[in-house]
Symmetry: none
Subunit: 207 residues, 4 copies
């Protein structure tokens, strides 16, 4: 007799399950994660879980569809919009990535990589992945175009290409640290990435 409440409750429950599944997938990988792992972590029963998801795969796909953006792009900070110059914005974004300790980054990276891999093999997921990439590229591209318009960056810079390289660098660095490596070394590379990109984007110094 309280369908509204029930719906909210169900939504909450579903989200909680997804959260637990995400942790498990990140920890052990999708195939290695058992449904028992997930229910154990959540302290619920298998029957309960299967009330919300028809299969383990459905959880994976749902995570991909619903969490992907939140996972990777959650960068726009509170004060992001107050930064006047494009280079500053890019720097802020990269600093965000740097600040995150590797320890907490790793599971998510692993999960992201797993997503990419799975997506490369299954058409339905590929679409999700593509959409995500486009969002990510568009986000950076906008900043770069802002920089080109304002004269901070060289006018012949291909904003799409540069945005792709941005993400390539970020992902490639992440990949190097997915298994092991020190925070310090990670930050060195992230700073290198920053310098390299700004150098690439900038009007040539004295050109």
């Amino acid at each position: 007799m309280s369908p509204k409440v029930s719906d909210a409750y169900k939504e909450e429950r579903r989200a909680a399950i997804l959260e637990g599944a995400l942790q498990c997938f990140a920890d052990k990988g999708y195939p290695a994660t058992t449904v028992d792992d997930i229910v154990r972590r959540l302290g619920i029963s298998k029957g309960a879980l299967y009330n919300y998801f028809a299969s383990k795969e459905e959880m994976f796909t749902a995570l991909m569809e619903e969490r992907m953006e939140r996972l990777i792009v959650g960068v726009k900070g509170e004060r992001y919009d107050t930064i006047p110059d494009a280079a500053g914005k890019l720097s802020l974004i990269m600093r965000r990535f740097q600040r995150q300790a590797l320890q907490e980054l790793r599971p998510l990276l692993a999960f992201y990589l797993e997503f990419s891999l799975q997506a490369s093999r299954r058409e339905e997921l590929r679409q999700v992945m593509l959409r995500h990439e486009e969002t990510a590229v568009a986000f950076i591209r906008e900043v770069i175009e802002e920089g080109i318009r304002s004269g901070e960056f060289r006018p012949d810079l291909d904003s799409g290409e540069a945005a792709s390289l941005f993400w390539a660098l970020r992902d490639g660095i992440a990949l190097q640290f997915i298994g092991s490596g020190e925070d310090e070394q990670y930050q060195v590379l992230m700073r290198g990435m920053e310098r390299m990109l700004l150098l690439y984007a900038n009007k040539r110094p004295e050109g």
Copy 2:
């Protein structure tokens, strides 16, 4: 006195199995690939396979150790050593990657990413991965140091960092194209990578 077949035969057999396993791992991922998949693809029996490899994992590891080695070292072409300048060498290396059609490259890339992923979760594989990374970085680092010594690259360039960024870029670009994407766009990015790196090393591109 005879099925003591030649060592060459056995080596060939082993290589064929590895090749089949690579295809399977690339297609479906390591955990999702069954030994039956591999065996079926090769048209041999399970026993035959287990004559050459003690476990599925051993194939996976061997592939990483032997195949990826080849991928890197295979870059050193016939005329590689005759190139006088470091920038030229780097360019050649990157051109190599560009020349390979994505279609051929994808299985290898997928395998490589898959290995990274698995390696992030299992100590034995991590060691193999680390060794591979060291080899790869050292290879590029050497070229960069040559460039620094010759004055082509700026003297304050950190060769290790630059080499890591090199591979980060390459891997990140690869990641973007694992699932889909056009050869043309891929080559655009690879050229972007080349320009960006040389600029970073302070070697102005001819343009």
Copy 3:
């Protein structure tokens, strides 16, 4: 909120599985018994079995620990403690063994010998076996010491040695009848054993 079946049910189930396993091990021997054999005999699924035991070996061990215990302790009948003299107790114990028809005894004997055999080759089982032997020897030894204290048995009798000989005789006789042999002949030997032991303990049989 329910297939959380009662503990009693689970205990029953577990016992039933053990019973089936015992029959199989006795019939075909431990290594030759497949989990499928056990499951087929019980009419359950493999998954069900593995809900109760983590491995085939665990069943084997549990059987030794729980069943054989019962075999020994089960000898202590209701009126066992009311018997005043040690010789009477020993006799009772031996009569127990005699009373059991060979047909019933055989599977247990076969299992016991099988366990001894396997235990001779695997450390984990050896421990279980040792514990069992100690329990068994201690049980008889106590009775013998009681007899020594009461003067029924000669004072220089080594109770440990005698207890070992007791079990050696029983096991040796069992071994002779595992495969074939008549109940009658079995009982003749068991009576011989009784006389021999009491004579050795220096308690002249009535005869």
Copy 4:
């Protein structure tokens, strides 16, 4: 063109294989022994082995049929027949068993036990086993009857029963030491066995 030589050679070969198989079966048990184990120990090829025996089982059966007696009864020593009294003969036989170190005894005991077990399950082997037991019992029985005739042992002694108890004791003691235990303790029990049996057989001291 030399069938006689060839036959001898073949017989030798066969015997060698059987010997190797015996060692393996004793070490690891029949089911756990692989044909590869046997072949490796002998330094021959599988094809060679299968020229002499049609199956692993055939080796086991052949061993049982051909080696059984040699294994257990090889007791009649050089000077055995010169001993005048029955008790002395029995003692000598038991001393033989005692002298053998447990370490070398164990594999054979394990094998013997395995035989018994297998024999209890398969009709063809049961016959072999029975014949062996009869031989063994008859051997001891003869000595005992000699003792009865000479007045050393009590006239009402049932020689068959006593012989069976003899072997039961010996096998039971062996069983106790199959997995572990010290030589010293083993010898203590064997001496206990000797005393117990002679006491049982003897005219009652002063009756």
